[in-house]
Symmetry: C2
Subunit: 169 residues, 2 copies
């Protein structure tokens, strides 16, 4: 019988879980200051611009963006509103689907991205990339990529499950 004064500890494999969360929080906060200083952008706003900049020829739907960012749709609406007010993105009604809204980078949005990117690269390099030598970086990328695939391959956030794979009503 477990001693009530000693809280249960997590399995040792969970170090990876905490380390992951901590690193990502630190990286995120590390870049936030730079983004705000150089471009007046929040981290989420930068992410939106960066995703749109990945492939300017294929505009993204709101749902796409929300999914990519792992954000709520309402939160995305709010941020796209702000970016549109700032003139950095444009909402274009989808041609195929009357309900759909596609978001694209405006020329000003491209400029904003170009303005923050150099400093951003510096900060990320300083804070994250330099912590790893080349081989480790490749290895970490490989491992994280595998995890992303694993997670993306299971029902996305809309599917709630209380355990592991239990069928529920």
């Amino acid at each position: 019988m477990p001693d009530a004064t000693v809280p249960p500890s997590l399995p040792p494999e969970f170090g990876v879980y905490f380390a992951l969360l901590e690193v990502s929080a630190l990286v995120q906060h590390g870049v936030e200051g730079q983004l705000r200083r150089d471009g007046g952008l929040s981290f989420v706003q930068f992410q939106i611009l960066a995703i749109l900049g990945e492939d300017p020829s294929s505009p993204r739907s709101m749902t796409d963006l929300a999914d990519r960012l792992v954000h709520s749709k309402s939160g995305l609406t709010y941020q796209v509103d702000r970016l549109e007010q700032a003139g950095l993105v444009v909402r274009v009604p989808s041609k195929h689907d009357e309900r759909g809204v596609n978001v694209t980078l405006s020329p000003q949005g491209v400029s904003a991205l170009e303005r923050v990117l150099p400093g951003h690269v510096d900060v990320v390099r300083d804070v994250l990339v330099d912590a790893l030598d080349g081989a480790d970086r490749v290895e970490l990328t490989r491992l994280l990529g595998g995890v992303v695939q694993h997670m993306r391959s299971r029902p996305p956030r809309s599917a709630r499950r209380s355990g592991a794979g239990g069928a529920e009503e």
Copy 2:
């Protein structure tokens, strides 16, 4: 996201950056539902309880906690308020420093932690740990640990003045 694609203007090593952020966001959202269902806890609240549970004999100061969580102090005040109202933690004035406040787990806090932990372990295992075989897990932990050390070794967030790279005034 088929592949951590990076805008052409970003160096290729930055795939690790995007993959990291995406994985951590997915993990975080993945556990949030379970924590709320099983214990009525937000992710941050769970983190606070978990940190306090790590070593109940050494209570943590507010600043300590904020630093560990990579959260603002005001945000931590808010969350500790809520946890205290719920009876899960207790604020104890520091003996050595009249300004200091130490936070400890109450018996109810221990119970809450015990109540959510099994399900939490399941979810994390399902979503993250199972994505890796044993060797990869060890490797990932090692890599992330190195990054944490690297980041913690530089001026913490309180010195958000010149941030991470450029000295600027």
